[in-house]
């Protein structure tokens, strides 16, 4: 790629091995240069646009933590009014906090009004930018600074919020999950999504070496283990129908948990591991993930 066409430039300040940095680049490269990005506040916004610098080679707007959905709706409507929407993609992207908690009302409005926008959620499963506080997408029993482990607590007591299901309930034409462990699948899903008119939602599982407490070189190993154990089902819904899932030969959930410092406390608590295994088993049953021999 010639330098003028580089859409996501080096020199950003993400940690070494950052999953979100990989995913953000894959998304923008799949979407192409005719794209306008609207970003919620979050790690991604902070490490790519540390004022007065920007890593982006495409138009990029950041307004507030909660309103990427609303700003993107405005951008899309303005493009339509000017007659320039054809061939221009609008992406509203956010971390998991900006999608599932703080930005949900603006996103929900955007989905409901039917704007032609792709919303991308980079799911690193906590508020990593401000120091690992739990969010609506933090998994069960994860150790964060606002759900610490101790004598009485095994970490986050709540289940992960089913945001893809919430998106699907809006009746939008395309909902998918993806992971940085399968980069080509991720890019294909982005390309497929932008070829569809109307609101789209993609949730990407992105390991965070800092918050999940693993080595930077293990990012792909961890992301892959989440899928292979059934804890992060990879699926896509087209027009509300399940159109495809990534089949797996299910592994025990310990294979995923033991890789990360945030689940370290569970290795001495088999009854908690049993509960997490149940979550994985439910996913496998619900989406039919098991590979039939």
């Amino acid at each position: 790629m010639p330098e003028t066409k580089i859409l996501y430039n080096p020199g950003h300040t993400a940690c070494g091995g950052c999953g979100q940095a990989i995913a953000a680049r894959l998304v923008i490269e799949a979407a192409g240069e005719n794209t306008i990005i609207v970003n919620n506040t979050g790690c991604l916004e902070v490490f790519t646009t540390k004022y007065p610098e920007s890593a982006w080679g495409v138009p990029f707007i950041h307004s507030l933590f909660e309103n990427a959905g609303a700003v993107a709706s405005g951008v899309e409507s303005a493009l339509k009014f000017l007659g320039k929407k054809e061939g221009t993609n609008v992406i509203a992207q956010a971390g998991d906090g900006g999608t599932a908690d703080i930005g949900l009302q603006a996103l929900s409005g955007m989905w409901e009004r039917g704007h032609d926008i792709l919303s991308v959620c980079y799911d690193n499963e906590a508020y990593m930018n401000t120091g690992i506080q739990r969010s609506g997408l933090t998994p069960f029993d994860s150790n964060t600074t606002t759900s610490p482990t101790g004598k009485e607590s095994f970490g986050n007591p709540k289940m992960k919020k089913p945001v893809p299901e919430i998106a699907r309930a809006h009746g939008i034409p395309y909902v998918a999950t993806a992971s940085v462990a399968f980069v080509r699948d991720l890019q294909n899903k982005v390309k497929k999504a932008i070829s569809i008119k109307g609101p789209k939602y993609i949730q990407i599982h992105v390991p965070c070496p800092l918050g999940w407490r693993h080595e930077g070189a293990q990012t792909v190993t961890v992301a892959r283990a989440a899928i292979e154990t059934g804890l992060y089902p990879i699926f896509e819904y087209v027009n509300g129908e399940l159109a495809g899932v990534q089949k797996i030969k299910p592994k025990p959930v310990e294979e995923y948990l033991k890789l990360q410092g945030r689940f370290k406390h569970l290795l001495k608590a088999p009854e908690q591991i049993k509960k997490i295994q149940e979550i994985a088993d439910n996913n496998i049953k619900k989406y039919g993930l098991k590979l039939e021999a």
């Binding site: 790629m1 580089i6 996501y8 430039n9 080096p10 020199g11 950003h12 300040t13 993400a14 940690c15 070494g16 091995g17 950052c18 999953g19 940095a21 990989i22 680049r25 894959l26 790519t48 646009t49 540390k50 004022y51 007065p52 610098e53 920007s54 890593a55 982006w56 080679g57 495409v58 990029f60 940085v180 980069v183 080509r184 080595e215 930077g216 070189a217 293990q218 990012t219 792909v220 190993t221």
Partner: protein, 86 residues
Amino acid sequence: MFGPLVAKPKSSRKNKTGSWRIDVKPKFLQKNCIACNMCVMICPENCISGKEKNTYKNDPDYCKGCGLCAFICPKKDIEMIPEGEK
């Protein structure tokens, strides 16, 4: 600071994040490369380039030494070596 703040596109290039590397750096052996492009796809910095077989290399000005390229390489053609070695 009030009002919109505007930054020039691609201006992050002046941050030479290569200085963040502490102990290891990737070495592209350029022997068994099959040009599968996986190292380019997985690099969080977008600092690996190459087109033909055995031409892939990283930009040490930006490489943070995370080691994902060495992990993902199907031919084990990338090695992590201690900083300072050739």
